[in-house]
């Protein structure tokens, strides 16, 4: 800090600066009206798109006098209609959260223990641009890396590619659904979609493996699920070592031994082939490599699988027959967060193959196709220097740049600056200890966020982004839908404080970086009008029409006259992957065992809370009230033998000696004894977040061990083991031998429920990537 100044000096200086009348009169804050008549009486209804998670439900903001009063679903949106979830409703509390970032901040203290000074946008952007130009000159553009999450980070990613760096990783690829999408690309030539392209409403049978729909709330998907299962009586098979909410609604619950899912799927494939339950005509017309598949899976019998998976062989057979009977109307749900045990791309490949032999692709009740149309854009061309940088692709042939590549390159001094955009890398990337080590090696770090989350503690400059309720975003084409449409996110209220939208940030930065061909549009409105002109509309017109533009889809094989070429090298669904074969990887999935917990330890599993999104919403006042902390599911029998009681607080210690914050026990028969489970995203380490700080357990700190998927480099996280610590003492988990099991719902009395019209689920552009 500077030296104190004398009183005289103080007034001399301040009066000099002040001029004759130095005060701010704040006359712009209020407007005078006749009493009681202030402002607009009416409530404006403004259509936009939710971003409390990345599902992009259509919303209507009810605004009076510039203040948001309520958020509701947009009935014009073909997916969610009038429905939104608890988080969607609580967007108001994100907008008006007093802990939000409000101004650009410069850290004048230490990394991790910042002392912040508010600075102007001009100063912040000047400083950032100076650093970028300096590092580019000294070390090349690739010395700057970007870690991002969500659609608002797309303009920044484009700008950085134009600047010359491809060290850009998004959490949704390597820590969430990248392996699923790579598996689908390899099999069908296209990703699985987000939302997933599943025609649930017409399904006769549905398979969920590890997907806890209902706890993972995506409004339109849950809606369609309920309708399919409760209304239309589709048979639901849930494979999950935990009795999840959706397991409770299932016809079959298979509490599988963790890590053995691929064994189960390959066995189903084998049984279906051996017993002629597959769709022969479809397989002949649309798939490649069936005979090789048949040969490869022939030893995966139900008897073998019973020993591996601890699921009764009779149940496996019953399910295979159910799928055979129901084909092609079988939804093999592709899953979402899929980075589990290390060889996950192959597990999802097995799912895709199972769906394919049942003929459940491009058919009602199975997967459907996306329908894209071309929109004009405001360009920002890629100008990456030299050869593409893609980590060590020899080992991981389908890897995009991952967080792990960037972490490693930073620890090796190849990267000097990070721009972290909307991504809580301390919570979402395993081994946060390593992330912090890498950060401490950096010369400079910028964080763009709406809240002071953990990464901002380590930033040199923090930029406050406008929330989804205060900004435009690039147009969202929902191409992966049976009823495709285009919708626009627009500001429902003006941005609070000095928060700015992503377009402002990148266009101001690109001016300072001298990037003339990046986003030549003047404003985001110009950008959107240009895009919308391709479909003969504009922003104003679209808003008047409720914010949604629909166009015709071609979701099923019928729409192509039964003549469809899959965008794979062979033009067919690749049961045998030619690309994997070329890259020396198994062209057909095999079962490979994963490490079991050693004696005394249990596997740590995690999932989502129905009212939170990762670590993004724990400080939201309403959502915090609904679910303030995570608890730890532990098997009843195990807890009894360990002397543990429901509701008491314990700590966890992992195999690398990391000890957690206290967490509340939930003792239940609904989980296997060789594992524990908790909700992800709690236990914030950022003291700025006054509600979320240290509430619950920061489970990611316990995920110190990772294995990279050999095909695409995703980070498997469910391979960490824990023990319980109570009153300072370590308690071993007992060895409880599991008999093969599998549960079937007893027939119940029919409950009459009223059906509403079927509501489709669809998908979004891959690039908008949320998890």
């Amino acid at each position: 800090m500077g030296k104190p100044i004398s009183r005289r000096e103080f007034f001399k200086r301040s009066l000099l600066g002040a001029g004759a009348i130095g005060v701010t009169d704040y006359s712009y804050v209020f407007k005078k009206f006749p009493p009681g008549k202030a402002g607009r009486e009416d409530v404006e209804l403004i259509p936009s798109i939710c971003e409390m998670c990345f599902w992009k439900c259509g919303i209507i903001g009810k605004v009076k006098n510039g203040r948001l009063l309520k958020i509701e679903g947009n009935p014009r949106n073909p997916h969610n209609g009038e429905k939104i979830c608890a988080r969607g409703n609580s967007g108001i509390m994100q907008l008006y959260d007093p802990d939000r970032l409000k101004y650009p901040l410069l850290n004048v203290g230490k990394r991790g223990e910042p002392k912040w000074k508010r600075i102007s946008w001009k100063e912040a952007l000047n400083r950032i641009a100076e650093r970028m130009l300096e590092y580019k000159k000294k070390y090349g553009a690739r010395s700057i890396a970007n870690l991002s999450h969500g659609s608002s980070s797309i303009p920044m990613r484009k700008l950085l590619k134009n600047f010359g760096t491809d060290r850009i990783a998004h959490a949704s690829f390597d820590q969430c659904r990248g392996n699923r999408d790579v598996a689908f690309e390899l099999t069908f030539g296209m990703g699985a979609g987000s939302p997933e392209r599943v025609d649930l409403i017409n399904a006769k049978a549905i398979l969920l493996i590890g997907s806890h729909i209902g706890e993972n709330v995506h409004t339109s998907l849950v809606k369609e699920f309920i309708e399919a299962v409760e209304g239309r009586k589709a048979k639901l098979v849930t494979v999950d070592p935990r009795f999840s909410m959706i397991a409770g609604k299932s016809d079959y619950w298979l509490p599988i031994k963790p890590g053995t899912d691929t064994a189960l799927i390959l066995t189903l494939i084998n049984y279906i082939i051996q017993h002629n339950l597959y769709d022969r005509e479809f397989v002949n017309n649309y798939t490649y490599g069936f005979d090789k598949l048949k040969e490869e899976v022939k030893n995966y019998t139900p008897e073998w699988a019973e020993k591996i998976t601890e699921i009764k062989k009779e149940i496996i057979i019953e399910i295979a027959e159910l799928f055979g009977r129901s084909k092609p109307a079988v939804t093999i749900f592709p899953g979402r967060q899929s980075t589990w045990y290390g060889n996950d791309t192959q597990r999802v490949r097995a799912l895709a193959i199972l769906a394919s032999i049942l003929g459940a692709v491009g058919r009602r009740g199975g997967y459907f196709f996306p329908t894209k149309i071309k929109l004009k854009g405001c360009p920002c061309p890629n100008k990456i220097e030299g050869e593409d940088f893609l980590c060590d692709t020899s080992e991981y042939p389908f890897m995009e740049t991952t967080t792990e590549c960037i972490r490693e390159a930073t620890l090796n001094d190849e990267v000097k600056m990070w721009i972290v955009y909307g991504s809580n890398i301390i919570h979402n990337t395993p081994n946060p200890q390593k992330t912090i080590k890498a950060i401490n090696k950096l010369d400079f770090m910028v964080v763009v966020d709406i809240k002071p989350t953990e990464p901002s503690l380590y930033a040199d400059i923090v930029l406050p982004e406008a929330t989804y309720l205060e900004r435009y975003d690039i147009p969202f084409m929902v191409a992966d839908s049976r009823t495709p449409f285009i919708q626009i996110r627009r500001p429902v209220v003006q941005p609070l404080y000095e928060s700015k939208d992503p377009f402002y940030i990148v266009s101001e930065l690109s001016k300072r970086l001298g990037l003339k061909d990046c986003f030549p549009c003047e404003t985001m409105e110009d950008y959107l009008n240009l895009a919308l002109s391709s479909i003969g509309t504009n922003l104003r017109k679209l808003e008047k029409e409720g914010g949604v533009y629909r166009y015709e889809g071609k979701p099923f094989l019928d729409d192509f006259g039964g003549n469809y070429r899959f965008p794979t090298p062979t033009g067919k669904i690749e049961l045998y992957s030619t690309k994997l074969s070329l890259n020396d990887k198994d062209p057909i999935p095999k079962y490979e065992p994963v490490e079991d917990p050693p004696k005394g330890w249990a596997r740590l599993s995690y999932g989502r809370s129905p009212v939170h999104t990762f670590s993004r919403t724990e400080n939201n006042k309403w959502l915090h009230a609904l679910n303030p902390e995570n608890d730890l599911w532990i098997n009843e029998e195990a807890a009894k033998s360990m002397g543990l009681k429901d509701g008491e607080y314990v700590r966890l210690k992992n195999q690398d000696g990391v000890v957690s914050d206290p967490v509340k026990l939930k003792v239940t028969p609904g989980i296997r004894p060789d594992m524990v489970h908790t909700y992800h995203g709690f236990g914030s380490q950022s003291p700025f977040l006054r509600l979320a700080y240290k509430k619950g357990m920061f489970e990611n700190a316990l995920i110190t061990k990772i294995v990279l998927d050999p095909i695409m480099g995703g980070m498997a996280k469910r391979i960490n083991f824990v023990k319980i610590i109570k009153d300072g003492k370590e308690i071993d988990f007992p060895v409880i031998k599991q008999k093969p099991s599998g549960f079937k719902k007893k027939p119940e009395k029919e409950i009459k429920i009223k059906l509403t019209a079927p509501l489709p689920v669809g998908g979004h552009e891959e690039e908008e990537g949320g998890c």
Binding site: M1, G2, P4, I5, S6, R7, F10, S14, L16, G17, A18, G19, A20, I21, G22, V23, T24, Y26, Y28, V29, F30, K31, K32, F33, P34, P35, G36, K37, A38, G39, N65, G66, R67, Y96, P98, D99, L101, K102, Y103, L105, V108, G109, E113, P114, K115, W116, K117, R118, P452, L457, V462, V493, Q494, L496, Y497, E498, P687, F688, R690, Y693
Partner: protein
């Protein structure tokens, strides 16, 4: 020099510091009748202290300048805006939520200019002072420069006296411009 009312001077001094705003400090001392005896920190230090107390800080933000942090009411924004509207004021800018300290001081300055002492008294009693007192306590506990503690504490004392005057019906304080 232009005459301005004391609420506006308070608002300037409790807003993000710059040389213009700080030029009012002497007038502030005249209002509260006391000279600041501590050392006056350089502007940059005040900027850092201000950010720490009121904007974002590590390990936590001690004194957010928003009523809703100190009061427990689900409908606070509505209540405040209804009050503003009942006496003929609508918020024109939405840069901050309606419970922002500076907005509330500006609102009080408007009431003062309008000579609407009834509303001024009601707003102080039923809304402003209950949270402002808690806010001042937080500032005093956390301010490392002493500068903001001085300002906040004196404003608090001054406004409590002001309330007494308003209660006693002594309402000719419009003369009190500085």
């Amino acid at each position: 020099m232009e005459k301005i009312n004391f609420y506006l001077i308070f608002a300037n001094l409790l807003d993000y510091p710059d040389e213009k705003k700080l030029s009012l400090f002497e007038r502030f001392e005249n209002i509260v009748g006391l000279h600041y005896t501590g050392e006056i920190p350089p502007l940059e230090n005040l900027e850092i202290e201000y950010t720490k107390l009121f904007v974002n800080a590590h390990p936590y933000l001690p004194a957010p300048p928003f009523a809703s942090v100190y009061l427990n009411s689900e409908n606070l924004y509505d209540e405040i805006e209804s009050f503003y509207q009942s006496v003929g004021y609508g918020i024109e800018t939405r840069e901050f939520p309606p419970d922002y300290l500076i907005y509330e001081l500006v609102f009080l300055s408007n009431l003062f200019n309008d000579e609407n002492y009834k509303a001024e008294r009601k707003f102080l009693i039923s809304h402003f002072l209950p949270w402002f007192e808690k806010f001042v306590k937080k500032v005093k506990e956390n301010d490392e420069t002493g500068f903001y503690s001085f300002i906040c504490e004196k404003i608090n004392i001054f406004l409590n006296n002001r309330l007494k005057e308003l209660k006693d019906g002594e309402t000719n304080l419009q003369k009190r411009v500085f």
